[in-house]
């Protein structure tokens, strides 16, 4: 942090953009009105794999209002330059309308452009596509995996053979879709060879780079704008085919085009959390100290790209384990490519590891929290590095106290209320602290207000608010006099708004830029003979409420406005930057939590109802407590969904997603969400980044599902190793 007093950082402030959002003035992707806009609707492949043999567009083109139908037979060849810089996984990315091949059910095969949305929708239904269909392979359980990515320390197999206690457990985790409220949408406009795109994205820079690669344009010919995102949970971390389709349609129609994916199309038009089959074998001594863990993970990916996520680190560093082996295999299927979803990798691994530890605790008769204490590592055993900060024990202690863990009976089925069996469970969560290179432009105007700009994004966590808090304190201004703007590729570049890295990365750049501007002002003052601060040591000066003064005598000073006016300066400006996690690693950086759940299970009817949840977080400094609490509630609600409800179902006969709508893909509703409480441990991580934050948007989701599954076991004695936990598993 800066030497500045903290007024905004750490204060429980409401969202600065709250009023815009609740009054409908915040404009989301599809709400950008561009003159002359026409509408585009994608025609989706109705087979799971094969070739397009014919496309008949006559009826569609005859429908009033339909302007064009673009498909592989009439689309221009697009450059599709190699691009590894936009979160494109290794492989050959889907190229829209470039050939007759169908790689998955729902792939875009044509787009209808019309003067009205209704005409475009109806026209899409009139396009007749003939196929030569092949049998798609969509079943993770039956398909051939790729070669594994492996990790080993010690000899897990040998240690398993000699361990006092052994568990061999198989888990299945369903595919989950992000299902944010705002649908993915793009408005595209060409001005000559310059492309402007209003898009739902978590990374304007990544989308800009991808569009320039696809269309073979110089980077500065593409501008991507995305000031508001109505939830994304990771689905906006790539530039999806529909964004390219919108840009292509606009170019061909020579008109601005708006393209909004239907809810159904989100299920194959964007990514998802892949399903897993995960076998975990673990061995311990009789006191519960882990001797070995052997992980075998199979995860779905597409036939054309190899998507991987960080499912391995938790098994290497969470607990002290001398012998670890891991084999992580992607399984290519005739599906669209997955993408990161909240707590990616870690949430999956934590369900398995934390369920297994609970099982070990039950088997040995050791309290689950005590078992975790016994396996607390003194360093990151995967790297030998010390932890920057790791307060997991404290999370457990505080959580146990707050939740009333002592009231839990270790014996399952020991608490009953009417038809309901009551159980408590806990799990821990971990997520890596990510941070990357970022920049921010800071401008202090002569009127004493500041404007801060960074490409960035705010998909809901409150980037607008928290960055304003950082800037206000570093500049010594009030929240009201600082404006933070984001979501434009013209602004200084930032990393993807995902992986809980925005505060650490963008925030550190904002801090740097604001520090530079404040120091410019201080230098101006101490060198200005007419300033009351003339000759004062710059280090003795702080700024508060837009007024520079010495630390010791607040009366001696002057405002930014006076200072700039007297010096005939219209503004002061600086480009702040942050280098990210550069240089050799000296520490192991992670955020942690302990999550507690109390559930009621109607064992006769197979119903699970979550009654209480608590998360205790070690996430470093909390910049914005009110937003952090909101994040925790969201992470827990998402975890309830993963644990009990969410499951994207594919029909393996033809590869179609059967429940591609919000009536059949269940997410929690208000009635499913009980009392949720979040506690953030006070503190900071000085090693992690200049702000001392560790990231919190992901870690709040990790550990929720296993805490619930463990509570179900405590209630019923039934160990469910499959997500979601549904009635049929409990009957």
């Amino acid at each position: 942090m800066s030497p500045q007093p903290q007024a905004a950082v750490g204060a429980p402030l409401s969202r600065v953009d709250g009023r815009l959002k609740v009054t409908g003035q915040a404009r989301y992707a599809a709400e950008h009105d561009v003159d002359g806009t026409v509408h585009a609707v994608i025609v989706d492949a109705a087979i799971g794999r094969g070739r397009i043999t014919s496309i008949d567009t006559r009826e569609a083109l005859a429908h009033p209002g339909v302007l064009r139908v673009i498909h592989h037979e009439n689309a221009p060849k697009l450059p599709y330059r190699e691009n590894t810089a936009s979160n494109n996984p290794p492989g050959r990315r889907l190229r829209v309308f470039q050939d007759d091949e169908v790689l998955f059910h729902g792939q875009p095969v044509a787009v209808v452009i019309a003067t009205t949305l209704e005409a475009a929708q109806h026209g899409a239904g009139l396009v007749k596509v003939g196929y030569d269909a092949e049998q798609p392979s969509t079943d993770l359980h039956r398909a051939e995996p790729d070669k594994p990515t492996t990790y080993a320390r010690g000899d897990a197999e040998a240690a398993l053979r000699t361990a006092d206690v052994r568990l061999d457990l198989e888990y299945r985790l369903a595919r989950n879709h992000h299902n944010a409220m705002e649908p993915h949408a793009t408005v595209a406009r060409w001005d000559g060879n310059k492309l402007t795109v209003w898009d739902k994205t978590q990374w304007v820079v990544g989308t800009q780079t991808e569009l320039s690669a696809v269309f073979g344009l110089p980077l500065d010919s593409v501008r991507v704008i995305s000031p508001f995102v109505g939830g994304a949970f990771g689905s906006g971390l790539r530039c999806w085919p529909h964004t390219v389709v919108a840009a292509l349609a606009a170019r061909e129609a020579k008109r601005p085009v708006k393209l909004v994916l239907s809810r159904r199309q989100q299920y194959f038009g964007t990514g998802y959390r892949p399903s897993y089959e995960y076998r975990l074998r673990l061995g311990s001594d009789r006191r519960g100290r882990l001797r070995a863990m052997a992980h075998e993970m199979d995860a779905e990916t597409s036939s054309y790209e190899t998507f991987t996520e960080t499912v391995m680190p938790a098994g290497q560093m969470l607990y002290s384990t001398p012998n670890v082996s891991q084999a992580y295999r992607t399984v290519p299927l005739d599906v669209n490519t997955p993408l990161w979803m909240r707590g990616p990798g870690f949430a999956t691994a934590s369900f398995v590891i934390e369920s297994a530890l609970d099982e070990l605790a039950a088997k040995l008769g050791i309290d689950p929290i005590e078992l975790r204490r016994r396996n607390e590592p003194s360093e990151d055993e995967s790297s030998g590095l010390p932890f920057s900060t790791r307060r997991l024990r404290e999370c457990c202690t505080v959580g146990a106290r707050e939740f009333g863990w002592h009231r839990r009976s270790a014996r399952p089925r020991s608490r009953r209320e009417g038809n309901w069996l009551i159980g408590m469970g806990m799990a821990v969560g971990v997520y890596e602290t990510q941070r990357n290179q970022a920049q921010a432009r800071v401008r202090l105007d002569a009127d004493g207000t500041a404007l801060v700009q960074a490409a960035a994004s705010d998909m809901g966590p409150g980037t607008y608010t928290s960055q304003t808090q950082v800037a206000a304190d570093a500049l010594g201004l009030t929240m009201r006099t600082v404006t933070f703007r984001l979501g434009d590729s013209l602004f200084p570049p930032t990393p993807p708004h995902g992986g809980s890295q925005t505060m650490a990365s963008v925030g550190s750049a904002v801090l740097d830029g604001c520090n530079r501007v404040r120091r410019q002002a201080i230098t101006l003052a101490v060198e200005d003979r007419e300033s009351p601060l003339y000759g004062v040591d710059a280090a003795d000066i702080v700024v508060r409420g837009g007024r520079l003064h010495t630390k010791d005598s607040p009366a001696r000073g002057e405002t930014y406005r006076r200072l700039l006016a007297r010096n005939n300066r219209t503004h002061l400006e600086a480009l702040g930057s942050y280098a990210g996690a550069a240089g050799p690693r000296r520490h192991s950086f992670y955020a942690y939590n302990a999550t507690f759940a109390e559930v009621a299970v109607d064992a006769d009817l197979g119903l699970v109802r979550v009654r209480r949840m608590l998360g205790v977080y070690d996430a470093g400094r909390i910049i914005s407590p009110k937003l952090a609490e909101s994040q925790a509630i969201g992470g827990i609600v998402g975890g309830i969904g993963t644990a009990l409800l969410e499951h994207t179902v594919t029909d393996h006969r033809d590869g179609r997603i059967v429940n591609a709508n919000l009536a059949d893909y269940l997410v929690p509703v208000n009635a499913d969400v009980p009392e949720v409480k979040a506690i953030y441990l006070d503190g900071e991580d000085r090693e992690a980044d200049p702000l001392g934050v560790k990231g919190l948007g992901e870690v709040v989701h990790v550990g929720v599902a296993p805490a619930i599954a463990n509570a179900v076991f405590n209630a019923t004695g039934r160990r469910i190793r499959q997500l979601p936990i549904t009635a049929e598993a409990l009957l």
Partner: protein
């Protein structure tokens, strides 16, 4: 959405005339509009009947209830007579859909609503109900939520309504208005099992309009209630459900009305369960024994076999809830 014409009618005669010319009736529109957006339904002419005088709840001469077809779900659920005479109906309604939908959707539309089978609602899938003769993708597809009772080789889709289960249990009658006047059809005959023609869902003649649902007077005291089992706690269709009404006098069950939802191609009346109860004294053992008959004749599919056991337990639980722990 396919293009369509729209007319608003203000008297039933005009409505029926428009219906006979091929118009489709629309009131709350909570199902039909969704299905039109998905192009599952492609009506050419919509006839808006929401202005017709079919929106009253009245007590019949014999002490039953007549619920007009245009009474909204919310209004019916809140009606004092419905609440006091037939709690199973108000409970079924309140456990349906969402508050917003209940404010729009009508009783007539509710019993006319179409299945939630995901293959029915996906126009690229085979579905005999949507496109006769195209096949049934659900039989060998993902059929966790599908029916185990009343199915045929041609269709395994459930009827989604909750309140229709209560109507079936209580042996309601549907009042239908046609060109030849009004007729009354027992609820059990109004909704059709799929057999070989799953696209025919109601025993309606061309242009006929649902005017009301009449619940017969039943001997008092009558205790009734509705239990809905579902994955999430609100805003979801039933995995299983049970409507139960019991008339107990002198310590003996004199009348038992039981039906199940979420399991049948139509709301599933359970006469075998009813017969097991009548003339007996209420005991936990009786509830359990009667409920064992709830799934008689069930033909489970690959993913819904759990419904056989769940149905029995649902019925047993609701018998005990209504009839009491003995």
């Amino acid at each position: 959405m396919h293009p369509f014409s729209y007319t608003h009618v203000s008297d039933t005669r005009a409505a029926i005339a428009a219906g006979r010319r091929g118009g489709r009736y629309i009131a709350g529109g909570t199902t039909l509009v969704d299905l039109m957006r998905e192009t599952v339904e492609r009506p050419e002419r919509l006839v808006d009947i929401s202005g017709l005088p079919l929106d009253e709840v009245t007590v019949t001469e014999r002490g039953g209830l007549r619920i007009g077809a245009l009474v909204t779900m919310a209004e019916a659920a809140a009606h004092p007579k419905v609440r006091s005479l037939y709690p199973a109906i108000s409970q079924a309604l309140e456990l349906s859909a969402s508050a917003q939908l209940r404010n729009m959707a009508t009783i007539g539309g509710n019993i006319m609503q179409r299945t939630r089978c995901t293959y029915f609602r996906d126009v690229t899938a085979a579905c005999n109900k949507r496109e006769p003769g195209s096949g049934c993708a659900a039989r060998d597809g993902f059929n966790r939520t599908h029916a185990i009772l009343g199915t045929s080789d041609h269709c395994v889709a459930t009827h989604p309504s909750d309140v229709a289960v209560a109507f079936a249990a209580l042996e309601a009658r549907v009042h239908l208005l046609g060109a030849d006047g009004e007729r009354r059809v027992p609820f059990a005959e109004f909704l059709l099992r799929p057999a070989r023609s799953p696209h025919r869902e109601q025993a309606l003649r061309k242009g006929e309009l649902v005017a009301a649902v009449e619940i017969p007077a039943l001997p008092r005291p009558l205790r009734s209630g509705y239990l809905k089992v579902r994955d999430r706690q609100s805003y979801e269709f039933a995995l299983t459900s049970a409507a139960v009404a019991l008339h107990v006098r002198g310590g003996v069950i004199r009348e038992a009305k039981v039906a199940a939802g979420g399991v049948g191609t139509v709301p599933w009346k359970l006469p075998a369960v009813e017969q097991h109860l009548v003339g007996e004294r209420p005991t936990d053992a009786l509830w359990a024994a009667a409920a064992q008959k709830a799934a008689d004749g069930a033909r489970p599919l690959a993913h819904n076999a759990f419904k056989v056991e769940l149905l029995k337990r649902t019925v047993e639980r609701q018998l005990r809830t209504v009839g009491g722990n003995q």
